[in-house]
């Protein structure tokens, strides 16, 4: 055993970490996010043991909805990352494609990918657990649409980061959903969050979507306001993500990221 060689290999990875802010961020926020998310979940169940008594399928329904969001977002990022990994990125950006065409194509492909994963999950819940997500009724469509738009929005935001900062932003791509999960109030009502976190949660569409899913399943009523606010915030973030993508594309053209993307 040579300590010099061991130290040499350690340095190879250490240099990589210290030269990349996204990599440092990745190391820090994973444990923080996991602890925060499960802390809120545990806290809620400890104080509200009877909350889900009359609706055993609520958690599973919310898990499926969250998974759809996760797959849409990650699916979009994957499509972008595939081009980087295969060193095809430059070929794509020297083809006569408008940014709008690239985004539209990725948005459609991400939807198909998500549906391929979602349909079997929905079909399995009924025979395995006696639960049907279709109990959400016609509003299920609006909730899915909202989640899809937000998933795509996150995908576009991460792709903007990849354009601007290059492949080192890849780690962020994998973890955006976990970063937002505590604020999304997926498994617990917004009141579980500390007040400061509630303020953040209210400016995200997720809280309205999951609150409404629980409201329909537990109270058997529909609060159209939740659906409305989810769409308003979605429209805002979607527009922002498109603007940011164009900004990042121009920044990448100035910085040279587009020709060095595979490196």
């Amino acid at each position: 055993m040579s300590l010099t060689r061991i130290y040499g290999l350690f340095l190879r990875h250490f240099y990589l970490i210290t030269r990349s802010f996204p990599r440092i961020l990745d190391l820090v926020y994973w444990p923080s996010i996991q602890i925060t998310l499960w802390g809120f979940i545990s806290n809620f169940f400890a104080t509200h043991t009877t909350y889900y008594n009359n609706a055993v399928g609520v958690i599973l329904t919310c898990a499926i909805l969250y998974d759809f969001l996760f797959r849409t977002s990650i699916g979009f990022n994957m499509l972008f990352l595939e081009e980087i990994w295969s060193r095809n990125f430059t070929n794509l950006f020297i083809a006569p494609m408008r940014i709008g065409e690239i985004l539209t194509s990725l948005v459609i492909t991400a939807l198909i990918r998500s549906l391929i994963g979602l349909v079997p999950a929905i079909l399995l819940t009924s025979p395995l657990f006696g639960i049907s997500i279709l109990d959400l009724g016609i509003f299920l469509f609006f909730l899915f649409l909202s989640l899809y738009i937000f998933g795509i929005t996150l995908g576009i935001l991460v792709s903007s980061g990849l354009l601007r900062f290059g492949p080192s932003f890849e780690n962020i791509a994998w973890s955006t959903m976990f970063l937002l999960a505590p604020f999304g109030c997926i498994y617990y009502p917004i009141e579980t969050l500390p007040e400061i976190f509630q303020k953040i949660a209210y400016v995200l569409p997720l809280v309205y979507i999951f609150e409404e899913a629980r409201n329909i399943l537990i109270n058997q009523t529909v609060n159209i306001e939740n659906v409305y606010y989810a769409f308003i915030w979605n429209a805002f973030y979607f527009s922002l993500s498109i603007a940011l993508f164009y900004y990042s594309f121009n920044a990448a053209k100035n910085k040279g990221t587009l020709i060095n993307m595979g490196e």
Partner: protein
């Protein structure tokens, strides 16, 4: 002869670093212009600007009389690029890759175009092969087919024969000569292979530290610098302290 590429005093700065320091040149129709220079001389940056992947800090680029800044999509439709540093998706078959790029370039008779390129580049037997499983020489010919799928008027080549064995390298060079002659296209060739440049290029630009330090026909440069071949001219210029012109 009409200029298909016109570069007017383009500069590219990365912060305080000047990667390209105001260079100008033209490439005529039916001409291959060699772009030579040591690593870091600004060749790839120049090609990046011609492809619209890099925004010049100043200066203008015209392709087929269209200003690049204002006609990016229209220009990208008529140019293409090959480099050993970029690849086609590895999991797709050769045919799928060529079909995808034919769609991206809105090629009309896709089947005929793929058949034509397959025959010319001898890749007919590879069409159903997985791209990632091809040898370097085969990948190179497939990349060349992709680069010609849109019948470009302007072809930008960055080290097109790097890492190829002499036989495949010669095949590619002969193909490029014949294709240029047949289609009257303009080619900008960045290469470190001086024999290749001498054989293919009507004239060459020598770049160093972001500047054009000399230019002319290969044989004229050899005579001017009193050297036996272009490689020796290259070595002389790249080791010099910019006292040329």
């Amino acid at each position: 002869m009409k200029n298909l590429i016109e570069v007017q005093n383009i500069k590219k700065n990365y912060g305080k670093k000047e990667a390209v320091k105001g260079i100008s040149f033209n490439v005529e129709e039916d001409e291959i212009l060699g772009l030579l220079g040591p690593n870091g001389s600004g060749k790839t940056t120049t090609i990046g600007m011609l492809l619209g992947l890099l925004q010049p800090t100043s200066g203008q680029i015209f392709i087929n009389n269209l200003k690049l800044e204002e006609n990016r999509i229209q220009i990208l439709q008529m140019i293409n690029f090959i480099s050993p540093y970029i690849e086609l998706p590895k999991k797709l078959t050769v045919k799928q890759n060529l079909y995808v790029y034919s769609k991206l370039y809105k090629v009309e008779n896709i089947k005929e175009r793929i058949e034509y390129l397959s025959e010319k580049l001898r890749i007919g037997e590879l069409l159903n092969s997985i791209t990632g499983e091809l040898s370097s020489g085969q990948k190179n010919r497939v990349s060349l087919a992709k680069a010609l799928v849109n019948e470009p008027k302007v072809l930008l080549l960055d080290e097109p024969t790097a890492s190829l064995d002499p036989e495949v390298g010669d095949f590619v060079r002969t193909f490029l000569e014949e294709y240029k002659k047949e289609k009257k296209i303009s080619i900008l060739l960045a290469s470190h292979n001086m024999n290749e440049v001498t054989r293919l290029c009507k004239s060459v630009l020598m770049m160093k530290n972001g500047e054009i330090i000399d230019q002319g026909k290969p044989e004229d440069l050899i005579t001017k610098h009193g050297r036996a071949n272009l490689e020796e001219v290259f070595l002389k210029l790249s080791r010099s302290k910019n006292e040329f012109n």
